[in-house]
Amino acid sequence: MVKTPIMQSQNVIQLKKQGTVIVLHVKGNVTVGSETCLKQAYSEANALDAPCLLLVFEESAYINSGGIALLIQLMAESRRRGQKVAIAGLSRHYRKIFNMLGITKFATMCDDADNALRDLATS
């Protein structure tokens, strides 16, 4: 077991397409350890050439500044591509954090994935 304890995040990211939206369900914590997984999922998403991206996190996820830096990178890339980004599933605390950092300007924050899909569809 414990030989090399996995202190890095291990994420499982599910990708699915719903209409014009690519939904990425991110399971697990979001830290520097999420880099490989997140980047891979993002490039798979972009291969599908969707105008909207929805990131769904787990409410229990632990997200730290290392993870947030990755998300900022992803938002920057999406902006370059003219792609809309929405985020759902975040706990109240992390929505506050994202707000403090001012990155809610670049991604719509939604309570849940369904609302987010509706928002993205009508906008």
């Binding site: 632990y62 730290n64 500044s65 902006r79 707000n99 990155i103």
Partner: protein
């Protein structure tokens, strides 16, 4: 949201902390309102410091929202202690000491490093984020907004301590 100017007081003068702390695991003043955790510098161990502080705050009756603020602040300060203070040398320790008084909880996060010459420039960090540019300084940016008071102190007998005070009432949003 807090206006930048309303961010809690921060000082980086080299001075002694009120409670004398020496990094490592030598003698420390641990009174009956103080708990302490001692960790190696390893990726992910900041979560132990985080849960530890949350558990104490919960027992003391802090509300869930303040506990979340505390968790993030302790996690970021511990990550910095391991990364910048101890340079991920797993033989170097991070010591997190928490005590409480009538109105607040005080956390010290101590590493074995030399501290920093200068705090990241808040305005610059904000501008970079506003342009979605990569930037260092997110951790300290958050700490300053989440706790009610923060100090960064180089210790006389080697080491660096972040002192963070969080009050029960002082919820930030």
């Amino acid at each position: 949201m807090d206006e930048p100017d309303a961010s809690p007081c921060t000082c980086i003068e080299e001075k002694e902390l009120t409670v004398k702390i020496s990094s490592g695991s030598t003698a420390r003043m641990l009174d009956d309102r103080t708990i302490e955790v001692n960790l190696p510098s390893k990726m992910g161990y900041e979560r132990i410091a985080m849960d530890f502080s949350a558990c104490f705050a919960r027992i003391l009756g802090f509300d869930p929202e303040r506990i979340e603020d505390l968790r993030t602040a302790v996690s970021e300060a511990s990550l910095n202690a391991m990364e910048h203070g101890n340079r991920w040398d797993s033989n170097r320790r991070v010591v997190v000491t928490i005590n409480y008084d009538e109105e607040s909880l005080t956390v010290f996060v101590v590493d074995e490093g030399r501290g920093m010459a200068q705090l990241p420039d808040e305005r610059q960090v904000r501008e970079k984020i506003a342009q979605l540019q990569p930037t260092r300084g997110l951790g300290i940016f958050l700490i300053r907004r989440l706790v009610d008071h923060v100090e960064f102190n180089r210790l006389t007998d080697q080491g660096h301590a972040v002192k963070m005070v969080i009050t029960m009432a002082g919820a930030r949003s």
